[in-house]
């Protein structure tokens, strides 16, 4: 159970996760939650949080050009991806704890940022 709120059915907002501090178990700061990846289906109500896109503090989302499935001018994509080569992804199973009050996510590890999957 990664959340501190033990009660099942607790309701949160996506906005509470965006910008949350991401730290490793030893307290090392790894960045901030820049986006939340959802996966599942068939209906939107069946989508669950698959993981978090994590970036160093202050870096923007660059309109998605940093995520490889997004089409765009190749030069722009290349520049943005080079600037974001340290972007990371935290899979849900690597999330140890979410402290909603402190806006803090404690994670076991960070993986390279993966491509989004193609539309179904």
């Amino acid at each position: 159970m990664p959340s501190e709120s033990a009660a099942t059915g607790a309701v949160h907002r996506l906005g509470e996760l965006l910008g949350a501090e991401v730290v490793l178990p030893d307290g090392t700061k790894a960045g901030q939650v820049n986006d939340v990846r959802l996966a599942g289906g068939p209906g939107l109500q069946d989508y669950v949080v698959d993981g978090f896109v994590v970036r160093a503090r202050g870096e923007g989302a660059f309109l998605g050009y940093d995520r490889r499935a997004v089409l765009g001018p190749w030069l722009l994509r290349a520049l943005v991806r080079a600037a974001n080569r340290d972007a990371r992804y935290v899979r849900w199973r690597a999330v140890r704890r979410i402290d909603w009050e402190a806006k803090l996510v404690v994670v076991e590890r960070l993986d390279p940022l993966e491509d989004e999957r193609a539309p179904a």
């Binding site: 996966a39 989508y47 989302a61």
Partner: protein
């Protein structure tokens, strides 16, 4: 028509998108998503949230606080809640988020309705407004 994607980076693909009804009438913007903890601990999408009551907290800071404070002040109900559209009503997404219910049935424009009845309609000449 594009169906739902295999994955959504929610901030990129859902937040701030226009919600439209089956007649392509605008409903509201996706100002936040409601996430509900399932029995297995996973966070599932339960609703789209709309209006200043959703956007203000997401914006944060002084601007977000002002947004919520003004919205609360102008709402007639004691404990106003943001507009809420069940996630199960989302049929597909493209540049917009399409829902199966009509805008008038979703009733997420409560502030607009209240402002129209209590402010706009009381302005002399408002009866002729289009």
């Amino acid at each position: 028509m594009t169906s739902l994607r295999a994955t959504y980076d929610a901030g990129l693909h859902l937040l701030d998108r226009q919600i439209v009804d089956p007649d392509d009438a605008p409903v509201a913007n996706v100002d936040d998503l409601e996430l509900r903890e399932r029995a297995d601990g996973r966070l599932a999408v339960s609703a789209l949230l709309t209006g200043p009551g959703a956007l203000g907290p997401r914006t944060g800071g002084r601007l977000g606080s002002w947004m919520v404070a003004i919205w609360r002040r102008l709402r007639p109900d004691a404990d106003p809640q943001p507009g809420r559209i069940e996630a199960r009503l989302v049929t597909h997404t493209d540049s917009a988020v399409h829902v199966s219910a009509r805008a008038r049935d979703l009733r997420v424009d409560g502030f607009e309705q209240w402002a129209r009845a209590n402010v706009i309609d009381k302005i002399p000449g408002a009866g002729r407004a289009e």
